[in-house]
């Protein structure tokens, strides 16, 4: 069974960068796949990779990570302004971040418009995609 855990942006909004990363990583280490509203900052993504590497053991092999984010180059001026205004008021809630343990998630394939998440069978073979997310 694969368990997904949704993390609303409000759950991480007030946390420091280190606490955000640790919160997400702790959930992933419990063999759950995180679907987070919004995205981490670039530096936090690098921190997430760095802390993941520190935590790697025989049991925990690392993570698979993917972010779907609206392509701003395709947005109109009004949409960009609305987005910037919302970000200032509410934080950067646009997009979705998916983080799964590498022992369960074999790979996350992404092209600009969709994400396909492949999970591992217990014997290590690859399943067909279990989750497809399309960007609106």
């Amino acid at each position: 069974m694969v368990t997904f855990q949704f993390i609303p942006y409000s759950d991480i909004e007030t946390l420091t960068a280190a606490k955000r990363v640790n919160k997400l990583l702790n959930i992933v280490k419990e063999n759950r796949i995180v679907i987070m509203e919004g995205r981490l900052r670039k530096e936090e993504e690098a921190d997430l990779i760095e802390i993941t590497m520190e935590e790697i053991s025989q049991k925990f092999k690392g993570i698979e990570l993917s972010v779907i984010y609206p392509d701003r180059s395709k947005q109109s001026g009004v949409q960009k302004m609305k987005g910037a205004f919302a970000t200032v008021l509410l934080g950067d809630r646009q997009g979705l971040t998916i983080i799964g343990p590498a022992s369960i998630v074999k790979k996350i394939e992404k092209n600009p418009d969709k994400i396909e998440l492949f999970t591992r069978e217990l014997n290590g073979s690859k399943r067909s995609p279990v989750k497809k997310l399309r960007r609106s």
Partner: protein
Amino acid sequence: MAKGFFKNILKRLQFNPFSKKNHVKLGLYGPPNSGKSTLANRICQDWLGEEMSTVSHIAHETREIIVKEQVSIKNKRGKELTFSLVDTPGIATKIDYEDFIRKGLKRTEAKLRAKEATKGVIDSIRWLDNMDSVVVVLDATKDPYSQVNITIMGNLQARNIPVLIAANKVDLRKANLEVIKAAFPQYPIVGISAKYGKEITDFYEQLFKLVK
């Protein structure tokens, strides 16, 4: 005493801002097995006549930062560019020692390689702040939309570090330069084969634009 005073001034002049170019750190970044060390070797072979790193078909062959000081290259007009070349371990989000066993390593070797590889990834990320310019080496036969690639590019952008993308392995049939151009339209991209030296002259010309 006067002699000592002038000596001191001359020594200080060596560290003037005009000599900064000689201390430029050019980093080679990218995911594992994209060809960073092959490119480092190509550059060092072409301009120093020696190799810099070992290469392997097994991922995470480079597990420590390797620096080659004082690499000087010349362009077609005879202009010279000197930099320290920094070959970094590939950045990954997962490392499984069993993958190395499947590639033929013994269990103890595989575990050690995995342990060293995790440290290598951490070092690569920490060294980002030391770089003046970066060549991101991507495997042109692979999907460029991986989050590792996007995270590397995002972190370089956040640090205002000039970037050149070297889309490596264009000698292979599966290579698709257009997909990489579509994924990163805001960056200069040069398709190369570090192994065979294909388009390497173009790459050197692009380096001059990168390290201004």
